[in-house]
């Protein structure tokens, strides 16, 4: 698949309206889902938008060579969120202090969200991709760049950890 890939800056700078490119359409179609995925993976709405755009920026540079852009975007989003988790290093709760979505601890659903947020990043990623994106083990493994057996392990251990924390 060959996809024309125009320089986004030129479109804005020359001031002329253009027909949306394939990437423009892809961006518009996938942006909301990507932000939501990043939100679920980071716990922060504001950071999610930033990371989603980071992911698109990475996709943009090689969009015309990518055969299946959606799985690629998904894997890229999971990866940039993982890098964000790495950067925050020892400040485990930092994302909650910086723009995390407010949850109501007395609400059982919010309590569950908090428990999921406390999972290790990979466990959380598996839970989000399994239960929000409804992805198969194989697709999750592709996004996480690991083996399906590892996904299975992460999944079962995530559920066990959630069960343990539930009142």
């Amino acid at each position: 698949m060959t996809i024309p890939c125009e320089d986004p800056r030129s479109a804005a700078e020359d001031g002329h309206a253009r027909e949306p490119s394939s990437f423009d359409r892809f961006f518009r179609d996938q942006y909301p889902t990507t932000v939501r995925l990043a939100h679920l993976l980071t716990g922060s709405n504001a950071i999610a938008e930033e990371l989603a755009q980071d992911a698109f920026a990475q996709i943009y540079r090689r969009f015309d060579t990518i055969r299946e852009p959606r799985p690629y975007l998904r894997a890229t989003t999971v990866n940039v969120c993982r890098n964000w988790h790495r950067r925050r290093t020892r400040e485990v709760d930092r994302f909650r202090r910086h723009g995390a979505t407010t949850t109501d601890a007395s609400d059982p659903v919010d309590e569950l969200i908090d428990i999921i947020a406390d999972l290790s990043y990979r466990q959380r990623a598996v839970v989000v991709m399994r239960y929000w994106l409804d992805l198969s083990e194989a697709d999750i493994a592709q996004a996480l760049e690991c083996r399906p057996g590892t996904v299975k392990s992460l999944h079962s251990r995530a559920l066990a950890a959630i069960r343990k924390e539930l009142p």
Partner: protein
């Protein structure tokens, strides 16, 4: 089977996703994305500075680990390991040594062996410099994957992260009383030893590390515990090893402190052996199957015994077994050839009206219950339950047939249901899920979710 928990997770994630505020999706090329593109396409030299700084930190941290390892020239003692004869055959990672010494001074449960093993491997003097590692052992009864082998779950935690893994333990000295167990391999889920080959004194190996960072490989004499060599290459080759078996220990650290901060795996390989796919991933399928069998084992009290209480004596007879205001259940025995057994079909009256008699929905066989197979249109519910639409379309009835041993059923909301003539039922909102705890007369329990 979708459990109540999985349903709750879906609901919670969907709600959280709906909370995401998204400005009208920006056109590609408008300011927010453009800023990102500007920053990611900035001149190379401007990006090299932070990259070089990061590389310097990485080298410094990796160097610290290496220096620490080199500084410690004395072989790390294996804590409280049994006395071993270095000339005899080593059988595992811990306790080190051959069968007799392990039987003489070993551990009588898989968990005890794992606990001692992890205590030894997480000692401050053997973990990477600058890291404090704690561990926990799963309190789940170790599922046996063979008569003499079991898998134990564990977790390692550092200051800012945790990782889960599996360890294979093997029973040694078949007639030993008490039993004796030895840890033979495994590790954290994000690290897999792909291959170890040990022959003619040369050890070669490769691994898959999902976490990135730096991996230190330490090679020990499996019998004596003496450290023989180390490497940080992948794949790696180590020559001139004189041991008849070596244990190969991996510590992976992520220099920037990200997830997971410390990953651990270890395996034993004997001279002349090639072993592949070692680690948590290799164990997981067996572990998963064993866990499933273990879980199914909790159904045992309900697998046995006939369903005697409402068994009519003559096939085709209709017998009223529940007759309460607004709720009436008749049972009818219907021979069904496909199962080779009689099925008990229930005719249900709800709010004074007869529900459509649907054999798919309301027929149970003792065999089906014993096998814990899906019954009627209760398929996927994991138990002897049928769900019927009520006449007003707003509620469903949950009706189950249970073996004689079941005396009590409790809902997650605390409601107690006592089976009547082996039949229990509940009224729940249409579309909702309820988890029921089924309790046998001997105190054993199991759960099922219906709705």
């Amino acid at each position: 089977m979708t459990t109540s928990l999985e349903h709750d997770i879906r609901t919670a994630l969907a709600r959280q996703a709906d909370r995401t505020t998204i400005d009208a999706a920006p056109e590609f090329g408008e300011r927010p994305l453009r800023l990102h593109l500007d920053s990611t396409t900035r001149p190379r030299h401007r990006r090299l500075v932070p990259l070089m700084a990061a590389a310097a930190v990485l080298v410094a941290v990796a160097g610290l680990v290496v220096v620490t390892q080199l500084r410690d020239e004395t072989p790390a003692p294996l804590a409280e390991r049994p006395a071993v004869d270095a000339s005899s055959a080593a059988v595992g990672l811990y306790p080190a040594g051959e069968v007799d010494s392990i039987v003489a001074a070993g551990f009588d449960t898989p968990q005890a062996a794992v606990d001692a093993y992890l205590a030894d491997r997480t000692r401050p003097d053997v973990v990477p410099d600058g890291y404090t590692v704690t561990y926990s052992v799963s309190d789940l009864e170790p599922p046996r994957i063979r008569d003499d082998a079991a898998v134990v779950g564990f977790s390692l935690a550092t200051e800012n992260d945790t990782g889960d893994g599996l360890l294979l333990v093997r029973q040694v000295g078949a007639d030993a009383q008490p039993e004796r167990w030895v840890v033979t391999g495994g590790g954290i889920g994000t690290f897999t030893i792909d291959q170890l080959d040990f022959r003619d004194g040369q050890l070669t190996g490769s691994f898959t590390n999902d976490a990135g960072g730096q991996t230190q490989v330490d090679v020990y004499d499996a019998a004596s515990g003496e450290r023989l060599a180390q490497s940080s290459d992948d794949p790696f080759t180590i020559d001139d090893l004189t041991a008849s078996a070596v244990t190969v220990r991996f510590w992976n650290t992520v220099a920037d402190g990200g997830y997971p901060i410390a990953v651990f795996a270890e395996a034993i390989v004997h001279s002349g052996e090639t072993v592949t796919d070692i680690g948590e991933s290799a164990l997981h399928d067996q572990y998963y199957d064993a866990i499933q069998q273990q879980v199914e084992g909790t159904h045992e009290p309900f697998d046995t015994g006939p369903i005697a209480a409402f068994l009519p004596e003559v096939a085709g007879d209709m017998v009223t077994i529940v007759d309460e205001p607004g709720f009436k259940i008749d049972a009818q025995v219907q021979p069904v050839q496909r199962t080779g057994q009689d099925e008990y079909c229930l005719a249900i009256t709800w709010a004074g009206q007869e529900l459509p008699f649907d054999t798919q929905a309301t027929c149970f066989s003792a065999e089906a219950i014993a096998m814990q197979q899906d019954i009627g249109n209760g398929a996927g519910l994991g138990g002897p339950v049928a769900v019927l639409d009520s006449l007003d379309g707003t509620q469903v009835l949950v009706v189950g047939a249970v073996p004689d041993a079941v005396t009590d059923i409790r809902t997650e909301t605390g409601k107690n249901i006592t089976p009547t003539h082996n039949i229990w039922w509940d009224v729940i909102d249409s579309g909702s899920l309820v988890t029921y705890k089924i309790i046998a007369s001997d105190g054993r329990t199991t759960e099922l979710t219906a709705g």
